[in-house]
Amino acid sequence: MPHDHHDNHLDPMDARVRALETILTTKGLIDPAAVDAIVETYAERVGPQNGAAVVARAWTDPEFADWLTRDATAAVASMGFTGRQGEHMRAVFNTPGLHHVIVCTLCSCYPWSLLGLPPVWYKSPPYRSRVVIEPRAVLAEFGLVLPEETQIRVWDSTAELRYLVVPMRPEGTEGWSAEALAELVTRESMIGTGIARAPEGVA
């Protein structure tokens, strides 16, 4: 056979995943359409915009902020964000004296319903191990240098309990709508490896 054609080469991992899917589909344990829908949901539709809406609402609605503090699971569910696996949510609020960071030291537990799926670095061994031991140095590598007097608290997520960091509201945003504020809430600010963006024109 001539070799000028383009053979498809399947990565061995890809082939094993396809084999698993074939076996499980044949046994009626999964429906390939449901698998595709899950991927589409988490890879494309659910993302940090959900968490940003929660944070912006907490910044503008004190009653909601109070609810979020007491029962984050119910508060975010009221906005339509519920965990697929029945996990509980806890919101931790940054203050000038205390900065929160989330991690999953075991694997990659993360508040999917609010932030989508975790970025690659969140799952990396250096982040998972080092942020617990030397959070200040790790945050500096993300470009976040906190004042010496600010304490850092690291929260270890699990399958049952996942955290959302509520960053501090940026200065110079008095009177802003929740929609406008949500634009300032980055994914990193809700993990704690960053802070909310400053509005344009404010140093």
């Binding site: 991992m13 046994k27 899950i38 696996q85 694997c107």
Partner: protein, 104 residues
């Protein structure tokens, strides 16, 4: 450490990883295993030092083998047929298992 995100929503570096993720969530949804049990299995493989998605695949295969739902030999044989099917499929067309030679 703050490496830029890749396509696939920043969560996946290849389509098979997304597929593997979807498969695992679907199995948990179907009640084959609970998510806490899953994270325990995944965490144990990660702790052995494997790369994240390699660990994920190994953990899932082990969970399925333990339950007699997909045995390693069966997976390997079928994976070879998928590789075979890929070779037999012209570039640009979807790979179908039927395209594999019947010898595999």
């Amino acid at each position: 450490m703050s490496t830029p995100d890749t396509p696939f929503g920043g969560a996946f570096q290849a389509p098979w990883q997304a597929q593997l993720f979807g498969l695992t969530v679907a199995l948990s949804d179907a009640g084959v295993f609970s998510w806490p049990l899953w994270t325990e299995a995944l965490g144990a493989k990660i702790a052995e030092g494997f790369d994240y998605w390699d660990a994920w695949l190994m953990a899932l295969e082990a969970m399925l083998a333990e339950r007699g739902l997909a045995l390693p030999d069966e997976v390997t044989a079928l994976a070879h047929r998928w590789e075979d099917a890929a070779h037999a499929t012209p570039h640009g067309q979807p790979i179908r298992l039927e395209n594999a030679s019947q010898l595999g």
